[in-house]
């Protein structure tokens, strides 16, 4: 039955209970997506352990990694030498802990050089276009025709071994990746209205690049950096394994694996630990890199 009491024609503007969706806190969203995959925790933990090992190596390592062993060579793991000793009696565990220093140093320096130079070239190419872009990108294409390991190998050999040359060699091999990414990103950012507005207002190119372009292309580059850290460590390990990179007595995981290879019949165990160290390190960087990519911009899934 129709209820006609209190029939009121309401004229006022009732706000109603339909509201806009709640505002999302950007930091919270980032954290949520980043940690969405449980494995990211493992990645971060490993990274932390690594950094701690590298910084506090002298306090963590039971022995001096350079000290030629009095106890004996090629010892199997024991309570005194948790991972055994190598062919000249150095404690393997200590060398592994100190090896993190080598790995991280080479990793960060190489990526730093490659990313700065590569991005610089890429942004120039994307921003100024035409001739600059043609030349830079063709050279980038040419360098990318070489498998990274190969190029780093040849360059490192030509330059001579040693940490500095390894860093330079791998950095050169990695630069094109950054250049290409930065180029593509700059091309798309360049067309945005705020860039055009700045140009019309008479801003200098260097100002536009620094203030508008670079901050906006930064996130994907950061993701690439994180992922490349892992690749660098793999590359350096490969070079050291072959004997071209960082050679003993400096502790490098790659050269430690090659020792186990050379004494395969007698002490293959020498290869296990350093290889696992490399794998876990790279694993953690890849993990964190993926999480970063998903949290910063999932559209990058196809690109990176």
């Amino acid at each position: 039955m129709a209820n006609n009491q209190a029939l009121v024609q309401v004229q006022d503007e009732s706000p109603g209970f339909s509201e806009a969706p709640p505002k999302v806190n950007e930091w919270k969203r980032f954290k949520r997506v980043f940690f969405a995959r449980g494995m990211v925790y493992i990645g971060i933990t490993i990274m932390l352990i690594l950094v701690v090992c590298a910084i506090f190596a002298p306090w963590l390592a039971p022995y001096d990694p350079y000290k030629v062993g009095v106890a004996g060579a090629m010892l199997k793991p024991s309570s005194e030498h948790l991972l055994g000793t190598d062919s000249i009696g150095r404690d393997v565990l200590s060398r592994i802990i100190y090896g993190s220093r080598t790995a991280l140093t080479v990793g960060f320096l190489t990526v730093a050089v490659a990313s700065v130079v590569g991005t610089f070239l890429g942004v120039l190419s994307g921003y100024f276009g035409k001739a600059v872009s043609a030349i830079v990108m063709r050279i980038v294409d040419a360098v990318m025709c070489f498998p990274m390991n190969l190029l780093a190998l040849v360059l490192a050999a030509v330059l001579g071994g040693g940490m500095v040359n390894v860093i330079i060699a791998i950095a050169i091999a990695m630069m094109p990746g950054y250049a290409r990414l930065a180029n593509g990103l700059t091309l798309s950012v360049r067309e945005n209205d705020y860039v055009i507005a700045a140009k019309l207002a008479g801003a200098k190119n260097s100002y536009i690049i620094l203030k508008h372009i670079i901050p906006n292309i930064f996130p994907p580059l950061l993701v690439l950096i994180t992922m490349n850290l892992g690749n660098v460590i793999l590359s350096e390990a490969s070079l050291s394994f072959l004997g071209i990179g960082i050679t003993p007595p400096i502790p490098s995981w790659g050269s430690m694996v090659s020792e186990g290879y050379r004494h395969l019949l007698r002490s293959p165990h020498l290869s296990i630990a350093p290889g696992v160290a490399v794998m876990l390190t790279v694993f953690s960087f890849n993990m964190v890199g993926d999480g970063l990519r998903d949290a910063l911009d999932p559209r990058l899934r196809g690109l990176l």
Binding site: M1, A2, N3, N4, Q5, A6, L7, V8, Q9, V10, Q11, E13, S14, P15, G16, F17, S18, E19, P21, P22
Partner: protein
């Protein structure tokens, strides 16, 4: 028995981070043989989700939590979504056309391939026979040079053409029920008119029943036999088309009708939109859902979350509405 599809108290919910969205909150309707019914409402009122629920195409985080969908004596909801029962019903018995012709076709397969695969599956035709029938269907829906066009890809067709192809695909296996979810919303007005005439033709020719989902009351007036008006996940008024247009009882229905400009009005009339926004379907307060936007207030609006549908004497047919307010009386 003239009932073809009976939906009883269908409830579909989505678990989102913000809360539980009750997209469909107890929808019931009946589709009879050789009938066209209109499912009308604003964006977000749950009409599309209702259709997807019938076809068991609702994906997580959505889930059908209650209700029955009775087709040929069996409740479809008890079948598994990927099982062979639903596979044999979809396409062959109940077919669906979607709103977005631009993305509803697989870009890497030819139109022919997409037409034929349904027929090979449901009708057991061999390739040649299926090809021939596909060409016939294309011609029926008005695509010129049908035979050559079978080898073309979707991106080579315009939006209107693609929707025609969708209609052809949907009708290819002679389904008894066709659900058209806003089939012309994404297209221009002329194409809209052509497509709906085509749809009506096909439906009359093949004897299929049609559920026409739309927010356009004009289309409903022209094509549907009966109308169900939806709001915030429920049916709030239903009757035959003639009755609804002659005597809209629910304030929302009245609001919808008042927004439509009409050619036969003598004086310039102000178009009166329904003020406010569609409600947030999470945590609905325990009053009538339309209350904040309704020009009328009575005591019962505040009492119940949803009043039940009550029957009203309708001049042109059975008429049900949820609102207690007698808007007709007030107007007169």
């Amino acid at each position: 028995m003239k009932e073809l599809l009976v939906v009883k108290n269908l409830k579909t919910q989505f678990k989102t981070e913000a809360g539980l969205v009750k997209a469909v909150d107890g929808v019931s309707f009946t589709l009879n043989k050789q009938e066209i019914i209109g499912l009308v409402g604003e964006s977000g009122c749950g009409k599309s989700v209702t259709c997807l629920s019938i076809m068991k195409l609702v994906r997580p985080p959505g889930e059908v939590v209650d209700g029955e969908v009775i087709y040929q004596g069996e409740n479809l909801l008890k079948y598994s979504a990927k099982g062979k029962e639903m596979s044999s019903i979809r396409g062959a018995e109940i077919a669906m056309i979607f709103q977005e012709p631009m993305t509803s076709l697989n870009p890497s397969l030819t139109i022919g391939q997409q037409l034929i695969e349904t027929m090979e599956q449901h009708l057991g035709l061999n390739y040649k026979a299926a090809c021939k029938r596909a060409a016939d269907l294309m011609e029926m829906v008005g695509i010129p040079k049908a035979v050559e066009r079978l080898d073309d890809y979707p991106h080579q067709f315009s939006g209107g053409m693609r929707q025609r192809v969708m209609i052809a695909m949907a009708l290819s296996c002679n389904p008894k029920v066709l659900i058209a979810d806003e089939p012309t919303t994404a297209l221009d007005v002329t194409t809209q008119a052509q497509l709906l005439e085509l749809l009506k033709d096909m439906v009359e020719k093949t004897g299929t029943s049609l559920i026409l989902v739309t927010h356009n009351m004009g289309l409903v007036a022209r094509y549907a036999h009966r109308v169900y008006v939806m709001y915030a996940g429920r049916v709030i008024e239903t009757s035959t088309t003639k009755e609804i247009f002659a005597n809209p009882l629910h304030p929302y229905t009245r609001g919808l009708l008042e927004c439509i400009p009409r050619l036969d009005e003598e004086k310039a009339r102000e178009l009166v939109p329904i003020k406010g926004l569609p409600p947030n379907l999470i945590n609905m307060p325990p009053t009538c859902a339309f209350l904040p936007r309704c020009p009328y207030r009575v005591e019962s609006c505040y009492r119940e979350p949803w009043a039940p549908l009550r029957s009203v004497d309708g001049k042109y047919g059975e008429h049900y509405t949820r609102c207690d307010v007698n808007t007709l009386e007030k107007v007169r």
